[in-house]
């Protein structure tokens, strides 16, 4: 099962490399957009793991994002995107 999934991912990765298709759509990966350090949009998320005004953890398809900053607010939460406002000081990805 795991082997098959790995094979599938390999094929898809190859396809995106060869055909230059957007990787986030084909590989079902999160896409992060930042506006300076005041706004951050995460598309293709899997929910919020932790929320406080200093640290937000957002689950994605293979791992999670940790966003650190001050006065962080969840401006909007939609099934496919999260918009975070505030002063962002750090982003890390844990795979």
């Amino acid at each position: 099962m795991a082997r098959r999934q790995r094979l599938q991912t390999g094929v898809r990765k190859l396809m995106t490399d060869v055909l230059e298709l957007p990787k986030d759509l084909v590989l079902n990966l999160p896409r992060i957009t930042m506006v300076g350090n005041i706004q951050l949009t995460i598309e293709n998320h899997r929910g919020v793991i932790l929320y406080s005004d200093r640290r937000i953890r957002v689950a994605v398809s293979r791992g999670e994002f940790i966003i650190e900053g001050q006065k962080l607010t969840l401006r909007s939460i939609l099934p496919d995107a999260i918009i975070i406002d505030g002063t962002i000081t750090g982003i890390s990805y844990i795979g």
Binding site: V48, L72, L74, S76
Partner: protein, 396 residues
């Protein structure tokens, strides 16, 4: 995003307060159940606050119970809540409505009536006429039909030739143009009399009765067209302002003389020129003779303006040319003398003609006077001219 917020304002939203261990779990569950939730932030004392719709709040209860989060409404925002609050303040709403309606009603009433353009007719006369037709302060604007009103106002006030009514806001402006009334004075009764003696050539009476015929000899002051006459057998005398055309032949004469032997002047051909500078009334001769060099002379003065850049100098330059003349007796023929005298006499006679006269014929009478030297010519001009002159008949 922005539109969503505007929409939320219209349908109303709630600011809620989450308290519990698993706020994240609650948020995820909301996401999965499709409950809208936004603007989540942490307050200073550590509680999490968010916004949701009214519908979403109702759906939130089972989710909250499952995640062990207690939800409390902090504030209600949006139009439905504002309206419900307004509904409780009936007096305020009534006042606002009353204000708006009274503003509308006051705005649709004509408060002022103004008259423009009248000079002779008094403003109060026009205002009174307008009030009788229904245009006065306090009437409804919608009741006024400007076109109809201006027409009937022009009929009602006969001194006005044009009336324009215009309603500008709460002020009605009546613009008028006055008639220019020409006062016709009754013409005085009287006759048309002859201003000169002559022979009538044309007589047409437009009013009155003509008393003379074409070819009649009239004296000065004779009645040509009578203003007091009787018609047929009617004994009653009718008095009118006599009027008509009366033209007559009038003769003008003048005489002039001319001598056959006379002193004639002739230029000898000798000339002298002097250049003179004139300052006001002083003269300085700068070239040529100071005094006329000939005993008998004719002089020709020519003024030469001294100009410097279109500025006239106060000094005038004059050139005087003297021509020497000599006199001698000469004898002209009878015909020449006669022609000269005739020309002069004719010119003198023409000068007597009034401007409205037409010259018909002229004749000359020549007479050689007893000294056998002088010719006298009399010019007689026949002219046709209007001689009618009105003379008022003074009644008792």
């Amino acid at each position: 995003m922005f539109l969503n917020r505007i929409f939320a304002l219209f349908v109303g939203y709630l600011i809620i307060h989450f308290r519990g261990e698993w706020v994240e779990r609650f948020i995820n569950l909301c996401l999965q159940s499709g409950i809208p939730i936004w603007d989540i932030y942490t307050t200073k004392n550590g509680t999490v606050v968010g916004k949701t719709s009214i519908e979403g709040f109702k759906q939130m209860r089972p989710v909250a119970r499952r995640s062990g989060v207690r939800v409390r409404i902090l504030k209600r925002r949006g139009l439905p809540f504002i309206l419900s609050r307004l509904w409780q303040r009936t007096a305020f709403v009534c006042g606002a409505l009353l204000f708006i309606t009274s503003l509308y009603i006051l705005g649709s009433i004509v408060w002022f009536v103004e008259v423009r353009g009248n000079e002779q007719v008094a403003t109060s006369t026009i205002l009174q006429a307008a009030a009788e037709l229904g245009l006065k302060p306090g009437v409804w604007r919608k009741r006024l039909i400007a076109g109809q009103l201006s027409r009937s106002l022009a009929i009602k006030v006969p001194e006005l030739s044009w009336v324009g009514v215009e309603v500008k806001g709460s002020c009605a402006v009546i613009e008028v143009v006055e008639k220019k009334i020409v006062v016709v004075e009754p013409k005085p009764i009287g006759h048309v009399i002859a201003s000169k003696a002559g022979v009538i050539q044309k007589i047409v009476a437009s009013t009155g009765k003509s008393m003379v015929k074409v070819g009649d000899n009239v004296e000065q002051g004779q009645i040509l067209i009578s203003g007091a006459f009787t018609v047929d057998d009617d004994a009653e005398i009718r008095y009118v302002h006599a009027e008509g055309i009366a033209e007559a032949s009038v003769w003008y004469e003048a005489s002039a003389t001319s001598a056959r032997e006379r002193l004639a002047r002739r230029r000898t051909g000798r000339t002298a020129t002097s250049e003179v500078l004139v300052f006001g009334d002083k003269e300085i001769v700068i070239a040529g003779p100071q005094q006329p060099p000939f005993p008998l002379y004719e002089v020709d003065c020519q003024s030469l303006p001294l100009l410097w850049r279109s500025l006239g100098a106060p000094v005038e330059h004059m050139r005087r040319t003297y021509f020497e003349v000599e006199e001698e007796w000469e004898q002209v023929s009878l015909e020449v003398a006669q022609a000269e005298a005739a020309e002069l006499a004719h010119a003198l006679a023409v000068m007597q003609l009034p401007s409205d006269a037409t010259m018909l014929a002229s004749s000359f009478e020549t007479q050689i006077l007893s000294d056998n030297n002088t010719v006298q010519v009399r010019a007689i001009i026949e002219a046709i001219e209007p001689i009618g002159e009105f003379m008022p008949l003074i009644e008792e």
